[in-house]
């Protein structure tokens, strides 16, 4: 565990084997904020390097997924979408779900993907997941601009009535989803340093998780009973449903479910950072 004492330019560090779980060392992450910005930039520079369509992929992926969902779930399966235009409903859902699931699955690989970097130089490891969440948030904001254009079209035609007065809480909602995804992701990542099986499970688990979340169906379509109960206990249900409610004006907002989701976010974030910091110190001896 490391203690810091800033005394003008002199900083004193004591490295020893005793480990404190309570010190989250967040001030150190803040000192490296420039690194977070650079990591975020690097993500965009590298993801679209040497692709023909480049950043256009940002729009293509959710667009094509939503068309597919509209066909399969909207028309073939005939899922009702609370009177909201089907395409818009699925577009909103996939955009927000993709943001969350990227935060989970990408951060779940933090240690394994960065083993060689972490083995050569010290910097607060938490900068990596934080920059990933930042990058995904920016990606989401770019994608949502497409959603807004389509939303505007339907709005003018009178098909949807967004709750503009609630838009102010959108940033908070996104931050919550980002933190929850990061928390879950880094807990998995901390565990995969020892048991690689988990990384195989992650992709699969996230897919299952999506079907347990009202992404391809509205919460209101679930019959009262154990199914709705289970969906309400899913901590992602609250934010996703609230997000659609604010944007599209339709959705089932259950305060208890949302409060549980908030509590879950706080727990998983704090626990995640603590576990992550703990594993970070010696994980190189085990990979």
């Amino acid at each position: 565990m490391q203690k810091h004492l800033n005394n003008e330019s002199n900083n004193y560090i004591c490295i020893s084997s005793d480990r404190s779980w309570t010190d989250l060392r967040l001030e150190e992450v803040w000192q490296y904020r420039d690194l977070i910005v650079l990591f975020t930039k690097r993500y965009f520079a590298l993801t679209y390097a040497q692709t023909i369509l480049g950043p256009l992929w940002l729009f293509l992926k959710p667009f094509l997924t939503s068309i597919m969902f509209t066909l399969v779930f909207g028309y073939i399966a005939g899922i009702q979408t609370d009177g909201v235009p089907k395409f818009l409903f699925f577009l909103c859902g996939t955009a927000v779900w993709n943001f969350f699931s990227a935060c989970v699955s990408d951060n779940a690989k933090t240690f394994i993907d960065n083993a060689s970097l972490f083995g050569k130089v010290y910097f607060p490891r938490l900068t990596v997941p934080v920059s990933k969440v930042t990058a995904f948030l920016i990606r989401f904001l770019i994608q949502i601009s497409m959603v807004l254009i389509i939303l505007f079209y339907y709005c003018v035609n009178g098909n949807v009535s967004p709750r503009f007065e609630l838009w102010i809480i959108l940033p908070f909602l996104l931050l919550q989803l980002g933190l929850m995804g990061m928390g879950v992701g880094i807990i998995i990542s901390s565990m995969t340093t020892k048991y690689r099986d988990l990384s195989v499970l992650v992709e699969f688990g996230i897919q299952l998780w999506m079907y347990g979340t009202p992404v391809v169906y509205p919460l209101s379509q679930l019959p009262q009973g154990w199914m709705r109960m289970a969906a309400l206990l899913n901590p992602v249900t609250g934010p996703v449903e609230l997000f659609r409610f604010i944007l599209l004006g339709e959705g089932l907002f259950v305060p208890a479910s949302y409060l549980w989701s908030l509590g879950f976010t706080v727990i998983v974030t704090v626990l995640g950072v603590a576990v992550f910091n703990h594993v970070e110190k010696t994980f190189l001896d085990t990979v």
Binding site: I13, S16, S17, D34, K120, V121, L284
Partner: protein
Amino acid sequence: MDDKYAEMQEAGLAIRIRGLKKEYRLGLIGRTTLQKEIKRWWARKRGLEDPYSKIGQPKRIKGDRFMALNGIDLTIHKGEALGIIGRNGAGKSTLLKIISRITAPTEGEVEIIGRVTSMLEVGTGFHGEMTGRENVYLNGAILGMTKAEIDSKMDEIIAFSEVGEFIDTPVKRYSSGMYVKLAFSVAAHLDNEIQIMDEVLAVGDMEFQKKCLQKMRASARVEGRTVLYVSHNMSTIRRLCDRCIVLDEGKIVFDGDVDKAISIYMGTGETLKTEVQFTEKHRIHGYFSRDFLIENLVITGAKEPVYPEKGKALFEIGCRALRDLRNVRLRMEFWYQDGTKIGSMLSNPVTAVKQGPCRFLLEMDLTGLTRGQYYADLVAYCGENGVQELLDGVYPGIVFEVINSPDVVHHVEWSHQYWGHIRLHDMRLMLK
């Protein structure tokens, strides 16, 4: 905590290490299979020896635990340039990794005053798709600089790296020389008070290496930074450091004067011997099968290991083969006394070696070696069809001295510093 800080400040210390230990769990390092684990467990249950334990393992292995560092106490003053030397596996890298906070110690503590730059590898985090400039920013930030600091140093870094107008080209288009030069420049321009380096000076061409060395020396002597430097290259240690420690089996065996440290590391701490028994201490760590062990070496045909130039050396080597072997060869890898590896001698193969003890006679022609002291690693291997199977290696296999001989005319005393250590065949010069 404040007291400790004040105490260190008063003594002018940059780093204070007390009782540092690092233990590795072997089962977790060498990836074993579940099957092996079970067999191992079963053998332990019946009180038998571990079926997978190897002969020739270092003594520090206790059960499935390995002490990479076994109680290090060290204080380093501000502005000191400390060299760290030791054989492979002595614990040098582990020590640097703990000081640079890459891994945590098992016991003991390290106190540091000042920001630490660790250069265990140059170009950490460099990415081929990004331009030189972008990589400088990212690499600098990883090493702990803020964007403003990098901005203020950018011109200096570009000038030092000699990359010039290519700075805005993706580094994947760089030659490997340009790549390391740029990477080193970033690290060399950090303002941190403590710099940790693991043989990073072995980059670029001779000119650039010289420039780097000057830069490092300046940062220690002029700017008062503390430098920790690990290297196998004794001449850079000698030029850069003013104090040196020797690590062996996770402990500091010597701390002090650089030349003394180097001579201890090179084996001259021991006198020239006519007979050497090789123990675990001499075994080189690495991918040796240890199916064949070099056990002792006796010098025959000379009273002591001192030979005239162009002389012949005769040895008798005692070995033990743990199975029947074919085409066993020996290789002598020579070091000059300053720690430069100068060349190797290969032997003919011995076609059939039966299981059990055996003795060999070895004759070496020393033509070409000039006056001075030499060490040789002795490596046994099987070599066929271009594939080498390492059997065993000992270090130093032999220590010997070459003296001037009346039969060899020099006209001028041989200059090791400028001419190298080997006198190649003489040339013929004729008037046309």
